[in-house]
């Protein structure tokens, strides 16, 4: 297993935004993460690929404590996520501290999860106003900028059910960005979309990566992984099997499981 992440391309600072150590997570008797060591450096765009059920999504959900972990450690910005250490044991953090930690991490869901009773604009200003205490006018101004950025300036008054899947996902990305996160997590952000709508969402993600946003994307879009990722992680059977630059993974994968998986996609 390669754990060296120094191969990333244009990142000059080595600050670790995300670090997991021996992460273990199981649902009942089914172990979905079996000792995962995973690192993301500041400014990196990391893409996690792998077959269904390999633990990619669970890994992502553990990073902002949407899932509890069984053992191991997760550090984001150098801080332990979701737990505090007491006599070498993990004790779950208080709700306030978990919420505070999550406010710094953007999460984009496969099924968008826009607030159904709010317009696009309301969706975006909700958390800045009620979590961060941003004044209303300022939140609205910022939301309009973000909507313009994701190409939906004309949709601010639309309710989610009146938007296409691609539009909804772009609003969801804007909603996450409104919190000015240090890190963005994308959980199969395009998997629920009609094929012709995938591109518009990937473009927004690509722009973000180019701006230097630190991000982790779980995806089945191999083109995106190849073109955008600074670092690609291949997971299978609850473990990281291989990782490296996109060139290393897509051209010179060493592990037979990686090659087999990619062959299925890249024919």
């Amino acid at each position: 297993m390669t754990t060296d992440v120094g191969a990333s391309t244009h990142i000059d600072h080595d600050f670790e935004m995300v670090r997991t150590e021996k992460l273990v997570k199981s649902f009942g008797t089914n172990t979905v993460l079996n000792g995962v060591d995973f690192t993301v450096k500041k400014g990196q765009a990391v893409v996690v690929i792998g077959p269904s059920g390999s633990g990619k999504t669970t890994l992502l959900r553990c990073l902002n404590h949407l899932e509890k972990i069984d053992s191991g450690r997760i550090y984001i910005n150098g801080q332990l996520v979701g737990y505090r250490e007491r006599n070498g044991k993990l004790v779950e953090e208080t709700e306030v501290n978990i919420a505070r930690m999550r406010a710094q991490i953007g999460f984009v869901f496969q099924r968008f999860n826009l607030f159904a009773h709010m317009t696009a604009l309301q969706n975006i200003i909700e958390a800045p106003i009620h979590v961060l205490g941003v004044p209303h006018e300022q939140a609205v101004a910022q939301a309009r900028e973000l909507l313009a950025k994701v190409g939906l300036a004309d949709k601010e008054n639309a309710f989610p059910h009146r938007l296409s899947g691609g539009q909804q996902q772009r609003v969801a990305i804007a909603r996450a960005l409104a919190m000015s996160p240090d890190l963005m997590l994308f959980d199969e952000a395009t998997s629920a979309l009609d094929p012709e709508l995938v591109g518009e969402v990937l473009k927004v993600m690509r722009d973000l990566a180019e701006e230097g946003m630190t991000m982790v994307a779980v995806t089945h879009e191999m083109g995106f992984a190849r073109d955008v990722a600074d670092h690609v992680v291949f997971m299978d059977k609850a473990q990281i099997v291989e990782q490296g630059s996109s060139e290393q993974i897509f051209e010179y994968a060493e592990n037979p499981r990686t090659r087999e998986f990619l062959n299925r996609f890249l024919q």
Partner: protein, 248 residues
Amino acid sequence: MFRWDQVWYYLFQDPHLYFLQAAWLTLWISVAAQSIGVVLGLFLALMRMSRFAFLRGPAGVYLWFFRGSPLLVQVLLLWAGLPKVSDILLPAWACILVSFSLNEGAYMSEIIRAAIGSVDAGQTEAAQALGMRYSLAMRRIVLPQAMRVVIPPLGNEFNNMMKTTSIASVIGLMELTGRAQELGAQAFTTFELLIVATVYYLILTTIWEFVQRWIENKFNPDKMNVEVATEKGTMARMLGFGRPYMGK
């Protein structure tokens, strides 16, 4: 002999407005008991969904009692039983209001709990991922959406409530049924006056039907007024009408 003149008299000519006053009593007790019941039901529902057993337990016992015994018995327990075990003697209207509210709370809590459960779990997750605490996510994201689901059964409950107030006549409260029986007993025209009471009940429930349809329309997301939705206060967002948000 059926006395139509009595029906006519109490519907249109009664200078004392006996039935109109009785209808007013029926209406305000229904509105008050239903409102208290909704608030109570909300707290009970949240208690039942709590992760703390010391909140779940009492709420469960409450529901078990109030859904498991007849409303009439609960009314009589308050009316006849309470003075026996304490110095408290509630007036008839208070007895009715308290027992109806407590009883309604039990039923509303089940309706609200189901409505909260019907809101997609992804909504809570999205709220939490944005840094909202459970209470904030509940108040801002889940409950407003649950309200839409609550409206139709709530309409049913209120319709039922207005008719069930007839139980109040048992302890001598002069709401519609009580009034009909009292006046009817004096002139042997109970049947006639029950017809009058029925007319009033039908008027009340018919008006409510229109009100309910109007509220449901307000809640229909397809017809929601976008202008209002963009700039409105908490009540307006939850109910679809109310004072708009004016900013600072």
